[in-house]
Every structure is written in structure tokens, then in C-alpha cells.
Symmetry: C2
Subunit: 337 residues, 2 copies
């Protein structure tokens, strides 16, 4: 079996959990430990990627580029990765990140909008970076659509394409259907990025590997948005038990998990009812607060709003639809009385 290449995202997806307040010291220490444990890729960016530091997404304590620079100093044989969401981050910022030492980029788009990644993927590839396409909210499009979009990213020059379960909404069968279809039709590597809202992150990662994915994301102590990601140290232990090679050493990862737990984690990343409803409904965790406000205002159950939003396949930026949906539910409720 091919070796599975892990990407640690605690210093990027985990940035959400600490309100983007990572310090240089934290980033340096975690990167150094990950490198010693032989984790091949280490992602370091604002939770919403390069340029995410803003009024809308929350300001970082330390600028992305400085953090990348800090990580690159101690990354050794590991490659520092950045996330780039076209529209939030720019090609100019990507060049700065490359100059600061980033050697991988994940160009992330909504699962139906891969076409906006063309220029970014081409530029990264031309700079000699490991270049990954990252299809967010992949649960919300049928497998054929995910394939169509992945093929676009492949045609732009990506070295790999990720199926990204941004809302932690995928069942094992959802993962199986998407990864197996991609594996049959793509020449490049396939990756999988999970969230743990349905407590299936590790298991879904195993399904992805079974179907041919060779790149898997994890975050130490689940440090990530919503219920967090695939818990890296758990995944490493499970893959070791299964005889699937990652090259990553378990004990240093356990030691690092102790550090993250004691020195970074503001609260343990268990599955709250809020996170669960996000995964059940299939919407971004950023919708929860808005749904609660709308529910209060209109006098309906926030959970019903979220489930309805999931059916409508809302995406980030469509938060204005929440009140509309809430009002519709309220009207239906009155109609039933």
C-alpha cells in the first residue's frame, strides 16, 4: 500500500479555535515538534487562509507571513503549507508566503467553483510549490459534480485534489462515493479533510484511504473549527495498528498533544450539540450564531433553521438568507395551528 501523507492543520484550522491569536512562539514550537515527528506537511495560516486577518474574519495576533517565516525556520524536512481562498487571499500574498518559506499551498474554493482557482494554481505550480486543490463543502455536491470540479483543478496543474468535508456532514458512504469516483478518473493524488461533527472524522479518513486517498489532514487534539478535525495523534495510532505507513512517530505526537492541550487549547474539543446540529444539517459552523439570533427574533427553533439552510445548500456569504428562512418556518408554523 502507498504511504499516506499527513498534513497537520492545527496551526491553520485550529486558528479559529484561538480566535487567530497564535503567537510566534507557539507556531515555532509546534512546527518544530511536528517536524521531529516526521509530519510531512504543516499548514500555517489564518483560519480563513492568507489575507483572512480582517474585520470580517477576525484579526490575527501575528501576520500570516511572519508566522510562515517562523515555522519555516524550524520545519526541517517538513514543508510549510498555506491555505489560499481566492477572493480572501491574493496571488501577491501567495508570493509573499513563498518568499517567507511556504513550500505548499492549498487553493480552496467552494466545491462548485473550482474555476476561480486556475490562476492561483498555475502561479503556485510555476513557483515550484506543492500545489493542492481543496474542494470545500464537498458533501453538498453529488460525486459527479465533485469529479467535474476536481478534473478542472487537475487540468490547472494541481498535484493533488482534496475532498473537503468542511461542515463535518459526510457519512462514510458519502466519502466512499466521492473518493472512489475521483480515484477512478484522476491521475493525481487525492486527499481528504474531515471535521468531527458527526464523530466520524477518523473513520471517514480510513474509508478515504481504503478508496485510494493518499493525503489526509489531521489536527492535534482536534484543534479546528466546529467539532475540530480528525484528531491527528489518534489517526497516527490507528493507522499504525492497521499497518498503514505514514512515517510519523506516535510518541512525539502524543507529547505534542499534551503541550497543545495544556498550553493552547482554550477548551477540550468535544462534540457540542451546536457542532452536532451543524454536521447533521450540513452547514458551516459560522452559521450557528446567526441562526440563534434569528430563532430568538422570530420565535422558532434554531435547529429547524439550520436543517432548512442545509437543504438549501447555503454557502459562506449567504448569511442574509438566515432570517428569511427563519421567517418562512415561522409562517409555516402559524399555518399549521
Amino acid at each position: 500500500m502507498t504511504k499516506v501523507l499527513l498534513t497537520e492543520v492545527a496551526l491553520r484550522d485550529g486558528s479559529h479555535v484561538v480566535a487567530h491569536q497564535f503567537t510566534k512562539e507557539q507556531v515555532r514550537y509546534v512546527t518544530e515538534m511536528l517536524s521531529k515527528a516526521n509530519v510531512p506537511f504543516i499548514e500555517v495560516t489564518h483560519g480563513d487562509g492568507l489575507g483572512g486577518s480582517s474585520l470580517q474574519y477576525g484579526f490575527s495576533k501575528v501576520h500570516d507571513i511572519e508566522l510562515v517565516e517562523e515555522a519555516a525556520k524550524v520545519a526541517g524536512d517538513s514543508k510549510v503549507s498555506v491555505l489560499l481562498i481566492p477572493g480572501i487571499g491574493t496571488i501577491s500574498q501567495l508570493k509573499d508566503a513563498h518568499a517567507a518559506g511556504a513550500r505548499m499551498v492549498r487553493v480552496a474554493t467552494h466545491v462548485t467553483e473550482a474555476d476561480v482557482s486556475k490562476q492561483h494554481i498555475e502561479t503556485a505550480r510555476n513557483m515550484g510549490m506543492e500545489t493542492i486543490g481543496f474542494l470545500m463543502m464537498s458533501h453538498s455536491a453529488p460525486p459527479e459534480k465533485v469529479l467535474e470540479q476536481a478534473l478542472l483543478m487537475e487540468s490547472y496543474g494541481a498535484h493533488a485534489v482534496y475532498v473537503t468535508d468542511s461542515a463535518g456532514a459526510m457519512l462514510p458512504s458519502d466519502v466512499r462515493d466521492r473518493i472512489s469516483l475521483l480515484r477512478k478518473n484522476l491521475k493525481i493524488d487525492i486527499g481528504f479533510h474531515a471535521h468531527n461533527n458527526l464523530s466520524l472524522a477518523v473513520a471517514n479518513s480510513l474509508v478515504a484511504i481504503e478508496e485510494g486517498a493518499t493525503r489526509i489532514d489531521g489536527s492535534i487534539c482536534c484543534l479546528g473549527a466546529g467539532a475540530g478535525n480528525t484528531q491527528t495523534e489518534v489517526l497516527v495510532a490507528v493507522l499504525e495498528r492497521m499497518g498503514i505507513e505514514t512515517g510519523v512517530d506516535l510518541y512525539p505526537m502524543l507529547d505534542l498533544a499534551e503541550y497543545v492541550r495544556n498550553d493552547i487549547l482554550p477548551h477540550p474539543q468535544d462534540i457540542t450539540t451546536g457542532s452536532l446540529v451543524m454536521g447533521y444539517a450540513g452547514v458551516y459552523s459560522s452559521f450557528l450564531r446567526h441562526a440563534n439570533v434569528a430563532a430568538e427574533k422570530v420565535g422558532v427553533d434554531a435547529r429547524d433553521i439550520l436543517v432548512e439552510l442545509g437543504k438549501l445548500n447555503v454557502v459562506g456569504g449567504q448569511e442574509d438568507m438566515i432570517l428569511e428562512v427563519a421567517s418562512e418556518i415561522a409562517r409555516e408554523k402559524v399555518g399549521k395551528i
Copy 2:
């Protein structure tokens, strides 16, 4: 597909988490809410079962029988269950529990010692109780051995036999092998009880159902020993998404989860490195403290001790072997220098 019958174990396995200090009020409230949500079986006992309240296992705040009585008052159509580990609990205590309103018992033995359950299963069956055989540490015996022992429990009159992953050590394939073999060879129902040490509790429960298990254990907010059990409210949401019928209502379970989180849980049940190592090694969580003490004393890594104990298939009561194993590792270490 057959309906899956859930047993909620937060008021029994979760008793470990609160050092067996459940109050009557907590037990009454949780039982009432579970009954309203249509959970068919609700287990209420000391974490180590009837008679567990002791110097060795920790004293309960309120006597088992009183808690069962309290739960039975508000259980409605749900059945109150008790755990009985022969050797810790007695037939006389089982009769008391039955008189107090318990209508189900799970007679639990180590996976290789089903023969000690004969009298208890027969007595329970004769009293008209729902009678379940519970094979603990099922990961530590090969599928054929688990089947042999399950057949014994069936022959004693059990209505169902559980494959119990006490250490949270099973991989999905371990579950599949055991449940499918039992399904092919038993006439009675098959159940599965997971712990989440490898973050696989929900996924393993899905595999068990796929292979024919129709009784699944869960605990609200993961409230249980080690990394906790299959998070019930998550399982209910996932099964609903999959179209597998449980009869349990999701929203009341979410409301109950909020209560448990705010009023009972001393700390969120995430997967600590301690729990992970238990699941990785395949030993009871009660061994962790002893291993740490021995590691300190002898100057070796506690994780190496636990992995070695797992290979030796140690069971509860063999804690005296820990120092021996630690010393052996220390001797080998010296030999290597």
C-alpha cells in the same frame, strides 16, 4: 431493516466519570428525559455494576437499589436496566434490583469467562427480566472464541449477547469479524458496546449494525469510562440521516445533552493521550494510573508498559503484573545499552 434498540449507559458507565456520585435528582431527571425521547433501555447502576460500591471500586453517593427505584418511578415505557458482574454483584442484589423496578439486566463477564454467568442469566430469565449477556474486553479474544462464549450465554437463556469493546481498542474490521460471525451462528439478538478511545465508537457501531447487531449502547455527551462511549445524541443523528430506525427523538436528546453538559459533566469527554494509549494498547483505563506509578518507579515509559500489558492480554485484577512488566522493560533497556 430491523429497528435498532438503544441502551443509554450514561447513568451506569458514566458513573465512573462522576466518581459514582450521581444524586437521586440527577438520575430521576435524566431517566425522565430519556423516557420522553423514547429510549427503550436505560441502565442505572454503579459503574462496576450492582455491588460495585466498595472501597476497591469507589463508594456510591446513593445506593444502587435506591437509584433504580428512583429511575423506575419515571421510566414510563422505557425499561430500567442494571449491570451485574458476577463476583462483584450477587443474585440477591439482582433480586433487590428487580423488586426496585429493574426490568433488564446485563450479566457481564470477561470474554473468556461466560461460564460464570449461567446462574445469573437463568435467575434473571426466570424473573421475567430482559436478560443480556455482556462479553467484556471482546477485542482480546479471536472471533471464534467470542462466538463460543456467546453460544454459552445463549444456551443459558440470554435474549441477546453483546460484543463489548471495554478498552475502546477495536478497529472496524475487529467489529465486523466478531459481529458477522455471531450473526451467522446465534439465534438471539446481538448488541455492541463501544468506547471512543480510538475515536471510532460511532463508526464501529455503524459497522456492527451493518453486520446485523440490533442493540447498541450509547452515552449522552460520551459520559463513560476512558474516552467515554458512543455519544448517543450523535449516534441518533447519524442513524436518522442514514434512515435507520431507532424510535428515539433527536431534539429531546440534544436538550438532554445540554443538561448533562452543564449540570453533570465534570470535564468534556475528549480523547486524552491517556485514553488514546489505552485504546491503542487494548487495556482497561484503570491500568493507566498504576502504569504511571510503575513507570516513575522503574524509569521507563508508561506507554511501553501499557502496550506490553495489552500484548499479554491482562484483565482487571492483574494490576500486580504492572510492576513486573515495567521491570522487564527496564532490564531490556539496560541490555540494549
